[in-house]
Amino acid sequence: MAVIGAILWAQWKSIRLLRFGASKRGALFSTITSLLWYGFWAVAAAGLAGFAADPSLQQDVELLFPAVLIFVIVYWQLAPILMASLGASLDLKKLLAYPIPTSNLFWVEVMLRVTTGIEMILMLTGAAIGLIRSPAFGGWARAPRIIAPLVVFIVFNLLMAAGVRGVVERLLGRKHLREIFVLVVVMLGALPQLLFVTGVPKGTMQRLISPDSSVLWPWIAGSRIPLHGSTLSPWLVLFGWTLLAYYFGRWQFESNLRFDSQAAQATTYTAAALGEDSWRTRLFRLPSAFLPDPVAAIVEKELRTLSRTPRFRLVFIMGFTFGLVVWLPLILGSRPDRPSATIDNFLTLVCLYALALLGQVTYWNSFGFDRSAAQAYFVWPSPISRALVGKNLAAGIFVMLEILAVTTACFLLRMQPSPYKLLEAYLVTPVVAIYLFAAGNLSSVHMPRPLTPERAAQGGAAGRSQAFMLFVYPVAILPVGLAYGARYAFDSELAFYAILAFAAALGALVYWLSLESAVAAAERRREQIITELSRSEGPVATE
């Protein structure tokens, strides 16, 4: 316990300095966004409690309770992977140097899995309160019978999540394998939606969540005890699953302890690949043919470093796979006789989604991957504006490559967009990008945050930048939205392209103004920027 206490104390000290020492505004925004997010889940939990407490809905509750438990499992185990944010975890590289028993570390790791499942704990609490309040399911006298299996169910999920995290972390730590893994996960993530839209195995799904299904499933066992009273078999099943989850979690945790991430990520670049005449080198040098130094040098450096950064590659792949998968079911489920704006603008929507996704690893936090090396931009005899422009140009190149990848994927899936729609996507996305880059330059100097290139699943932005993004995205899309509005109102392509051209010109002006402002802020805040980017984490790494 002393060791666990010491780890948590060190983490608290690290977080305290990070949150309250450096930026009170950041802490405030972080609190507000957390309140909004968990407030939403608290409301959902209250709704669930009301639903479960209503005696007139007893049959519905019995029917739907296993589905709620399935949802809890799927969310707890899959959502962190799909969001490429695995929650807080022990930084084993730092902790392994100390004589801490493995079991202690394991239980801290299990407790940290709460960080990716607070929403589900809220939902289960809501369900438990509802069942206790319902006269149909026993009232307060049967509270222990209702609460106990749900607590075991939570422990099962925590242990399972620890194991899943271990597997995911190792897969993401292996070069090339991680990219394949992400593709598979993305496809799996889309499967339920795809099945729902296409409706193929509806019967199978219903059988799986039916209360009459086999008690051997953990969600069936977990729902039978609170709904129908204690019998031995569901308890045995629930404990059995929990024991299995324990062995799985422990096995994966210990495998992680033995895993040499450095060896797994070691580069195997051949001399030919990095030679002056290799196609890769020629590709990286291409922008230098059109741009002067130092901007060209920065663009080239960004192209090289980002393409070698696991975190970036992961997001880039997600941009053209996850985006397609999210929208694809809508296309497949659509009816040809019913026109739809989503289907008409499918390609543009996926491109804009990819642009938003790339933000975290490119324009929102331009100096994030440079970490403390970002101080070089203040030491070299070149204005910081060149660094920002160079980074934006590199981001722009990746955005164009992303659009190209989306287009190729669309053609491969035989969803051939018309030449007009192609042109539209290739014009609309860069216009929105100009606005986002303008805002990104400001956030890069006002809210810099160090990112670990090797950590493929590091979480997104801190609270303050998240709030800033929530504000900026709608504003950035607004000028383009006006162009679409004009097309709809006047039924005219000319009106659309005229307003789009105006939006582009306005964007250029906004970009120039924001660059000036960002440069002034960078000069003023250079000490804070370097300090923020040089910061390291505590024993628990937040992802």
Binding site: K301, F369, P381
Partner: protein, 252 residues
């Protein structure tokens, strides 16, 4: 700009963090062509001073002139003529050593072909050519220092600001680096260096200043600092007032 002005001229430099002065009224003059050692115990204010000299952090008060030009008024001009080896690395981990050196050369305004050529030569000089195709992220600490020093040389600067350049470097690498630095001084460059390895300072430096608690406690040539048969280590321990505190801990 005056070619006879000192390489570094600092007057009443202060850097305040909250109620603690990391650098407290520091005044210093380093003549051109001098190999200057800047010593002090941990936390004395050495790195903060170098960071102010490079313009990375603004001083709370005081003035800085480098190569006869005031900072920050002529910051860009000054930066063009400075070679820097910092305590925290300025290295971009996802570039190879060769790519990094070429990148730095271009940032200092060298033509691309020249930057490429020099980076190749520097990799060979610092015996990094065999590792030149590894990412810097995979370099050892000593290799990182070597590539940082190579980067500081690529634009042929007049003034070097070096924070612990020999830290983690093996004996062969250190010997090579010392020879290169002495050669730079012979051609007229000025070197301002901090190091905890006093033997290195004793062998290389013409002048030495010792800083403690943000203030210069002594300054002069090595001969001036050493009274009688004292070594630099004796002088250092004497002026920073180190005590044998461990003798009070009976359990140790």
């Amino acid at each position: 700009m005056d070619s006879l002005s000192p390489a570094i001229s600092v007057r009443d430099l202060r850097k305040q963090y909250g109620n603690k002065a990391a650098v407290d009224g520091l005044s210093l003059t380093v003549p051109r062509g001098c190999f200057f050692g800047f010593l002090g115990p941990n936390g004395a204010g050495k790195s903060t001073t170098i960071r102010m000299l490079t313009g990375l952090i603004p001083p709370t008060s005081g003035s800085i002139e480098l190569l006869g030009m005031p900072l920050p008024d002529q910051a860009l001009e000054i930066k063009k003529r400075i070679g820097l080896v910092p305590d925290e690395s300025l290295l971009f981990d996802r570039l190879t050593g060769g790519e990094f050196l070429e990148f730095v050369g271009r940032m200092y305004g060298l033509p691309r072909q020249v930057a490429r050529e020099r980076s190749r030569e520097l990799l060979e000089l610092f015996e990094l050519h065999e590792s030149g195709r590894k990412l810097i992220a995979e370099y050892s600490k000593g290799m990182r220092k070597r590539v940082a020093m190579a980067a500081s040389l690529i634009h042929h600067p007049d003034l070097f600001l070096m924070d612990e350049p020999f830290e983690g470097v093996d004996a062969v690498g250190a010997r090579l680096m010392k020879d290169i630095l002495l050669d730079q001084v012979r051609r007229g460059a000025t070197i301002f260096l901090t190091s905890h390895v006093l033997e290195v300072v004793e062998r290389l430096c013409d002048r030495v200043a010792i800083i403690n608690d943000g203030k210069i406690v002594t300054e002069g040539t090595l001969a001036e600092l050493r009274a009688g048969s004292e070594t630099l280590e004796d002088v250092f321990v004497r002026v920073v007032g180190a005590e044998r505190a461990f003798e009070r801990l009976e359990w140790l």
